[in-house]
């Protein structure tokens, strides 16, 4: 591997370079296969194992284990690393259950939300422009392949909600108990920021405030964002 190649891969840890090149990093053969099978196009695949998967119709560059370790972002690097082109999703969804993320910041939370949404068959996630990048390496790793299965769009969330013409649910303290709600087949579910919840601008656009009932003796003041998402999706 050239020094320039290594430098370029390191740059892709940063959002500004991912945005510039429209690419992102995936580590491990299993995940690489998942992305290829989901229609993502690899720009480069690097492998430190001779045991290269021949079912993949893309050129694989063999590199040394030392080189792989130097470009990997993982504590325990896997056997391969690939750079993929990002999927261009320009149109925002208008059907089915749509998750909308309002300024979610933690990569681990976003990864877990994508994995959980996939489990429950959600096809679309719409993110506010200030939500953490879904191509952040920590997000990609935490999704365990589910990222390949879901369309994720970044947009002006308020504008999208204004034009969506769908019922909009948001979790708040003091909303209607979700056990008493029958969700329609087409709806938007808003998940707020980890510390501050749903922003005031977005709150105004919510058509139904919902609540996950809390035990009266509980000390917990809120649920983790990914946990709240999972509970709402499991009710739907």
């Amino acid at each position: 591997m050239t020094k320039a190649e290594k430098k370029h891969i390191k740059q892709l840890q940063q959002k500004k370079y991912r945005n510039e090149y429209r690419t992102f990093i995936v580590e491990g053969w299993k995940s690489i296969r998942d992305f290829i099978n989901a229609g993502f196009i690899p720009e480069n695949i690097y492998s430190a194992t001779e045991n290269i998967d021949n079912s993949i119709n893309f050129n694989v560059e063999e590199i040394s284990r030392k080189d792989l370790e130097s470009i990997s972002l993982l504590k325990n690097p896997k056997d391969a690393l690939a750079i993929f082109f990002q999927k261009e999703t320009n149109k925002t969804p208008s059907k089915g259950i749509i998750l909308a993320l309002d300024n979610l910041q933690d990569p681990g939370n976003l990864g877990t939300i994508i994995r959980t949404a996939d489990w429950f068959g959600i096809k679309n996630i719409v993110c506010s422009n200030n939500t953490v990048d879904c191509y952040n390496p920590k997000v990609v790793q935490a999704t365990m392949g589910s990222l390949a299965n879901i369309d994720i769009t970044y947009t002006d969330l308020a504008k999208y909600l204004n034009n969506a013409n769908l019922p909009i649910y948001g979790t708040f303290l003091g909303g209607k108990n979700i056990d008493k709600i029958t969700f329609p087949t087409d709806a938007i579910i808003i998940i707020g920021n980890e510390g501050n919840g749903i922003s005031q601008e977005i709150e105004k656009l919510v058509t139904q405030k919902i609540t996950i009932a809390k035990h009266p003796n509980a000390k917990a003041e809120s649920l983790n964002a990914a946990i709240a998402t999972a509970i709402v999706l499991s009710k739907i």
Copy 2:
């Protein structure tokens, strides 16, 4: 602060020293108050703010911000750090809904599980001896005060389950759909290890295998342990 004091606090990042001294670290006034109110006894409270909470009936040692930063484990240290004595919980629970953790390893997951369990009014968690320590600073921080509200016991899990005389539920692929289950008021719910699920030894003791139904098109092979816990608890 003396060098010896600082060294002692750093030692408490390690389980062996926490076990030896039977103490643990809590950071931030809000969490410190939560633990005091829940009956935990502080060994020492260090504060870098002159704005000391006078409602606390314990001696608070004023230290410099620099000292606080040197003993804090947080990237952005809060205004205070306390060492608390661990609660001695020798007896294992026999009533209510009891969470049992079989070799859970991730501190963030354990913290989130404790916070979620508290939200749903669970009073008892029983951990296998090889489960991550609940007084690990990352766990304490992730629980957001809920740790103070729940009794957590470490024990030989197989032996406990054998003697518990309660129905034992465990999540498995291919178990009974949790939507079709009515949980009793007294039961044990087992949550397995992040990578390997419930161990074979414990699986034999499960009286009802349960499953969180997965969408047929989903790529996700499993749910995060904390997510699975939250969904099961919300159904109960």
